[in-house]
């Protein structure tokens, strides 16, 4: 399994927010991609409403997932490919290890895949003595540094060129350089050897096409093409929701994906792969395996409140506009999925209580919804998660997080419902606040459990006389 540190969200977020280098890098990323994406949507011939149509196509596919997956499997098998349905991450990993044993795999090259991060595949492979090399440049950097990705599309966004220069000098034995082309060339050389020597290529799947029976891979670097073309075995991991019915739907979805992910009109390389090399084909792998993974997704599917989340195509557009992600970075979220998408998906996959701070961390500003190429209503689901945490939910096994908070809000609603009680409470509070540290203008520190409010800011004190009262006095004196 992959390491889950969602419980430490607060500390991790504080650490990210305090890192000026990270904030600079994130600001740069958000300025470029966030704005570029919005501009791209505006220039679509069909206009931004295309996102609504794309969502309908995704929803229709999710509603027919059983039919689509059967069709995909049938088509791939008819070309001699293998399809394995894994309910748990562990099963997927074990299947992969069994295939590795059968083919005597010692070295595997990997294209970027969120699902393999989710199931912690790399650790299991290395425990089995198999070298698994990440080949997306960002992932490679992160792997060499012994870290984890902090963005879905730009995994090494948290690292500066200086850090990468030192890392490469250290690990690849090249002369120190902080020139991106030189560093890219060094990685190109090092990884090419791996591509040509590897026994297995591992990739994810962006969006399968049920009608034709193909998985798709998307990259700008060409690394996934290498991984799926050169080694004798190609192994694909796909979250079970990453499929649409018709080829026709791929038109709008790929156009939107490229715009959402990188403000491009079209990704550099898109491949449709339908199985192993066929008789007569010049190249391509001799064995092709597709692993379709549930790992908690069917539970999301079963809940109408969250089913919409399965429409996600993991483009990262929501990360590129999120004010919270832009301050704290991806590592804060404690799981491969970060940003707004992570704040909803992670709790649903690892446990809502276990990741309870993620949904409260987001601001509900709605920027993610406008950026999402498939118009997913993330803010609505963030609220739904908060509601579950407040009231508990046996179906998701959610325990109420804070009885005190709940009690406070019950009390508050009572007060707000009665002007007499409200006025009384305010007067009492105005008296009580004199006991707090600070001067007349500002309250510096509140006692626990309210201490969080004043950790980073001062609070204005309540006025001695309420507006209501002053209004009345003024009225009389007139």
């Amino acid at each position: 399994m992959t390491r889950i540190t969602t419980e430490k969200y607060r500390q991790q977020a504080a650490k990210g927010a305090a890192d000026p280098v990270l904030r600079g890098a994130l600001a740069n990323l958000q300025n470029r991609f966030g704005r570029g994406t919005a501009e791209c949507y505006r220039r679509l011939p069909e206009g931004p409403d295309l996102r609504k149509r794309a969502k309908r196509a995704r929803q229709e596919s999710i509603d027919h997932l059983d039919v689509l997956l059967e069709r995909l499997a049938e088509k791939i098998r008819s070309r001699g490919g293998h399809v394995y349905f894994a309910r748990k991450g562990k099963e997927a990993v074990e299947y992969c290890l069994a295939v590795c044993r059968r083919h005597g795999v010692r070295l595997a090259v990997k294209g970027k895949s969120m699902v393999t991060e989710e199931i912690g595949l790399n650790r299991s492979l290395s425990a089995a003595g198999i070298e698994a090399v990440e080949t997306d440049l960002g992932e490679y950097i992160v792997q060499l540094a012994g870290e984890s990705p902090s963005h879905i599309i730009a995994p090494a966004i948290h690292k500066t060129r200086k850090e990468i220069g030192r890392l490469f000098a250290d690990r690849l034995g090249i002369a120190y350089s902080e020139d991106p082309p030189t560093l890219t060339r060094a990685a190109r050389r090092a990884l090419r050897e791996k591509f040509l020597a590897a026994d297995m290529g591992i990739s994810g799947c962006n969006l399968a096409c049920a009608e034709t029976g193909h998985i798709t891979t998307v990259s700008n670097e060409g690394n996934i093409r290498m991984a799926s073309t050169l080694p004798k075995v190609h192994m694909v991991f796909m979250g079970m929701e990453r499929i649409v019915a018709r080829l026709e739907d791929h038109d709008m979805l790929f156009r939107l994906l490229a715009r959402g992910a990188a403000a491009q009109n079209m990704a550099g390389y898109v491949s449709y792969i339908g199985g192993p090399r066929q008789p007569g084909d010049s190249d391509g792998p001799e064995a092709f395996h597709l692993v379709v993974l549930d790992n908690g997704r069917s539970k999301i599917l079963a809940d109408p409140e969250f089913r919409e989340m399965l429409c996600c195509i993991r483009c990262a557009a929501c990360l590129n506009v999120c004010p919270v992600y832009g301050r704290i970075g991806g590592h804060a979220y404690g799981y491969p999925y970060s940003g707004p998408v992570g704040a909803v998906v992670t709790p649903l996959l690892v446990g809502i209580n276990r990741a309870k701070d993620l949904c409260s961390g987001e601001t509900l500003c709605g920027a993610c919804r406008h950026a999402c190429p498939v118009d997913i209503d993330i803010p609505r689901m963030l609220l739904a998660l908060r509601a579950k945490l407040a009231d508990g939910d046996p179906r998701w096994g959610v325990k109420r997080t804070s009885l005190l908070e709940k009690a406070a809000f019950v009390l508050w609603s009572k007060l707000a419902g009665s002007s007499r009680l409200y006025a009384l409470a305010m007067e009492a509070a105005a008296l009580a606040q004199r006991l707090l540290p600070g001067n007349r203008q500002m309250i510096r520190r509140l006692p626990p459990p309210l201490a969080g409010w004043t950790q980073y800011r001062d609070l204005r004190p309540l006025a001695g006389k309420s507006f209501h009262k002053r209004w009345k006095t003024n009225d009389r004196s007139r």
Partner: protein, 252 residues
């Protein structure tokens, strides 16, 4: 990993969807082209020379910002001369010697590369005398040493400057991938406007439909690139660092 596991998996998906037994949903996969697809097919089949010239213009506009080197050749000799010049000007990246890898393809045969180039030309066919895996390995080694790979695109999408390549005997996927420079040639009547036209054609055109997407259909838009180091764009991450696109205009 048995059929039983799969049944349980799918039954579980159905349960989540609130359905109790396997179902068919024929409406999901169209049996005949929609009105929209029909319109696109019509448009493609009626495309005039004038419209094709407009597509070439659109292609030029799309190619420039992507750093694609676009060449328009009026005949096959000009195209061959272009490739000869590229081969003479550029230096090899992975080997000391210049070698070129190419597809077996009618259009490329007409270029007569072995005669046109100073460098040896390797056609991407596995050696029939060797076993499947061994032959494939040797072939990939050859292609990996080449500094130029020459392919012929099935189609080219003008709006995004996207090449469409399918896998076939003699037409290895690695020719457009391993060499440092990818040269793709495409006939002007193979230009399409966009993805929608491509998908309509692959789904419904009687000639294209049989082959469909093949085992591997690749869409290529520009040379390989990355922006993973401080979001700075660099070409030649893993795939070709240069992409030359030669559009061959007919009978002019």
């Amino acid at each position: 990993m048995t059929a039983a596991d799969e049944k349980i998996f799918l039954a579980n998906v159905r349960r989540a969807l609130g359905i109790d037994s396997p179902r068919r949903a024929p409406r999901l996969f169209a049996e005949s082209p929609s009105a929209y697809s029909k319109r696109l097919l019509e448009k493609i089949s009626r495309r005039t020379g004038e419209e094709t010239r407009k597509l070439i213009h659109r292609l030029k506009e799309a190619a420039a910002p992507l750093n694609i080197d676009l060449h328009v050749a009026s005949d096959i000799q000009t195209a061959a001369a272009l490739i000869t010049r590229i081969a003479a000007d550029k230096s090899p990246e992975w080997a000391d010697r210049k070698t070129v890898a190419a597809w077996r393809h009618p259009l490329i045969e007409r270029l007569d590369l072995p005669a046109a180039l100073d460098a040896p030309v390797f056609f991407s066919e596995p050696d029939p005398g060797l076993s499947g895996e061994e032959a494939r390995r040797r072939m990939i080694e050859q292609i990996a040493k080449s500094f130029i790979g020459v392919t012929a695109a099935d189609f080219c999408l003008a709006d995004t400057a996207t090449l469409v390549l399918r896998s076939r005997p003699g037409q290895a996927r690695s020719v457009s991938l391993l060499p440092s420079i990818h040269v793709a040639i495409v006939e002007a009547d193979r230009l399409l406007a966009d993805l929608a036209e491509l998908y309509a054609l692959l789904s419904w055109d009687p000639e294209q439909k049989t082959e469909g997407l093949s085992t591997c259909l690749t869409l290529i838009t520009g040379p390989s690139k990355t922006a993973d180091i401080e979001a700075t764009l660099v070409h030649g991450a893993h795939g070709p660092r240069e992409l030359h696109l030669v559009v061959l205009e007919q009978n002019s």
